[in-house]
């Protein structure tokens, strides 16, 4: 039942991905800026023939539909061509940076949910009381503070003033563990290197908190409102009437139902963590995909930008698929309604 449901939803994502790839391709080619000029820079001593030769080399002289077909044909095999700015295959550049971003995103995700789910549930238990009101104000701050601003404030306070935490980079280079997964914390754990682990975690905290803040705020509000709705339902009263302890009534019966609608918000917010990290990674000089994307755009590195944007799109689609799958696990009615 569940496998069939997920299989079907997986199949439905194919047209979405094709549409996304087309939009990515077109927007890149319709934006101003000539990649060849960027590549050659102000070298000056290049001939028109050399330019044309490069253009032909990268198939930029072909009609757009042909270029798209070439791009798509290679993309499905995982080949996004060479990066214009780095001269290496795009895939290589991205896989090099991806673990850093995944690590950061995962940390932010865990922080956001670890704060938001208990906070939302607690606020719902006593609505309009002190905790709820405090959580509301904090959540409002979390949503309305721009990420870069919060990042800078945290850097100044915890990094520069108090010297508690490092303000940039991923790890103390002297301590960097041997790369196995590319995620410093995991590699440090595998190597059993406590100092490296501490350094990696210390570098993660500030950017992760900065990224987690808006997500935690949104999810707290969502859990709260959906929990209030569920707590008013008969089955919660019936669970109490059966003599179940309150923690079980709230933590199992009510929360499970309240999380069903929350899962979608979490998926969307996680997608925003991934794609919204450009600013945060730039602020914290964190060498991940976001910073890579910013650099690639500045260099009009078509293949690299295309690949990064496509990666964002795929992760969005994947996250929503995962959300549907999780909802189907949580609520049997979802399986039947959508399968």
């Amino acid at each position: 039942m569940w496998v069939r449901f997920v299989g079907r939803r997986l199949w439905q994502t194919a047209p979405v991905l094709i549409g996304v790839s087309l939009i990515v391709f077109l927007t890149m080619h319709l934006t101003p800026g000539d990649p060849i000029e960027h590549m050659l820079g102000r070298a000056g001593s290049v001939t028109r023939a050399q330019i044309e030769e490069l253009r032909a080399h990268y198939a930029l002289d072909r009609p757009l539909p042909t270029q798209y077909a070439l791009f798509l044909g290679k993309a499905v095999t995982g080949d996004f061509g060479p990066s214009y700015s780095q001269g290496r295959p795009v895939v290589e550049v991205i896989t090099e940076r991806l673990p850093a971003t995944l690590e950061l995103t995962l940390f932010a995700f865990v922080i956001a949910l670890a704060v938001a789910i208990p906070a939302g549930a607690l606020a719902a238990l006593r609505p309009h009381r002190l905790f709820d009101r405090t959580a509301t104000v904090v959540a409002l701050l979390g949503v309305s503070m721009p990420g870069f601003w919060l990042g800078i404030v945290l850097m100044i306070l915890l990094g520069l003033r108090l010297h508690w935490l490092p303000i940039s980079g991923r790890i103390d280079w002297a301590l960097a563990p041997e790369s196995i997964t590319g995620m410093n914390t995991v590699d440090a754990l595998l190597a059993g290197d406590g100092a490296a682990l501490r350094s990696a975690l210390a570098h993660l905290i500030l950017p992760a908190i900065t990224m987690a803040a808006p997500m935690a705020a949104m999810v707290t509000r969502m859990v709260r409102s959906s929990m209030i709705g569920v707590l008013g339902q008969d089955f919660v009263q019936f669970a109490r009437a059966r003599g179940l302890p309150e923690w079980r009534v709230v933590g199992k019966h009510a929360l499970r139902n309240a999380l069903v609608p929350t899962v979608n918000i979490v998926a969307i917010q996680t997608g925003m963590l991934l794609s919204g990290n450009m600013v945060i990674e730039a602020v914290f000089q964190y060498p991940g995909i976001g910073k890579l994307a910013v650099d690639a755009i500045a260099a009009a590195d078509y293949p690299l930008v295309q690949a990064v944007v496509l990666l964002y799109a795929v992760s969005y689609v994947g996250l929503n698929l995962a959300a549907d799958g999780i909802q189907a696990v949580l609520d049997p009615r979802v399986r039947e309604a959508r399968a």
Partner: protein, 370 residues
Amino acid sequence: MSVDVRHEALQTVTKPLQVEERRQGAPILAVKKLRTCFDTYRGQVRAVDGISLSVRPGETVALVGESGCGKSAAALSIMRLVPPPGRITGGQVIFDGQDLLALSRAEMRRIRGRRIAMVFQDPLTALNPTLRVGAQLVETLATQGAARGRAARQRAVALLDAVGIPAAAERMRAYPHELSGGMRQRVVIAMAIAGQPDLVIADEPTTALDVTLQAQIMELLAKLKEERGLAILLITHDLGIVANFADRAAVMYAGQIVAEGPVADLVREPLHPYARGLLRCVPRLGRPDVPIHPIHGSVPDMVAPPAGCRFAPRCPEAMPQCRQEMPVLKRQPPTARTIRQNSEGESLARGGTVRRVRCHLHPGEGGNGR
């Protein structure tokens, strides 16, 4: 008083002794002057305004009234499950000799399910839609310390079987929405009796079901009552169900009990104008010539209840006194009908002989206001 003594003597010969003794024994539940308020922005709503009632083991007592009269609030108050902003402001709920209102939360939790169980109105919303019914039943058993693991599963299947669910073992894996309304209510009842309670509070147990199922569910409750010696507090607005399944009934209006007594008396000879009005609202099958008389108006605003008798504004027989002075719930003398009926020995066991009415038309025997 002498009349009562004679009645009791008669009862013992007309019904099997054992059942009779239980029904005449000490009440398992005695609610005394219970008050429950809801704090709203407009003021305090006195949803339950000093009601008293008792239920004996093996007895079914109906709490009857229209929507908003406070009967569900009364039921939740007994369970101490009144949702905020509601709160119990006074009175006692004596269950098996102890006042539930004086218990700690943990002590009260051990009463729920094990000693007092509840059946809810809508079986679809009473079950957690995201969990299999078997899991919910097993969880109930485990919480109540009745059984765990495999033993709990076996008990659960036996319970589903006992409430008349066919292929019980397979139904364990069903989700609530996969069952019909009647089956769901059977599951709810199975969960209610899982802890072998002494008292079941059934809050409109058949209101959300269609008519054919109503009789089945009520018969199931009646059967379980006989088998397990349950006491049942039946909250309902359906006088047909009251007439068929309850021993005694208390009619509630605007947070107060306005009439109380054996069901036969209520149905055949209602003394309180409101009880009379309720009966005249019930259509009679095959008697289109008997007109239906709705009670006009609606339940009064309980933030500012009317002075005097709360039913007076809607009462066709209201006198000037009714609008000034609140009548007291008073014990009524036997009428010609009750004397005749009791001397014939008919239906004596059902609900005894004591009836009380809160109405200036029936000043009663004096004293004994509850």
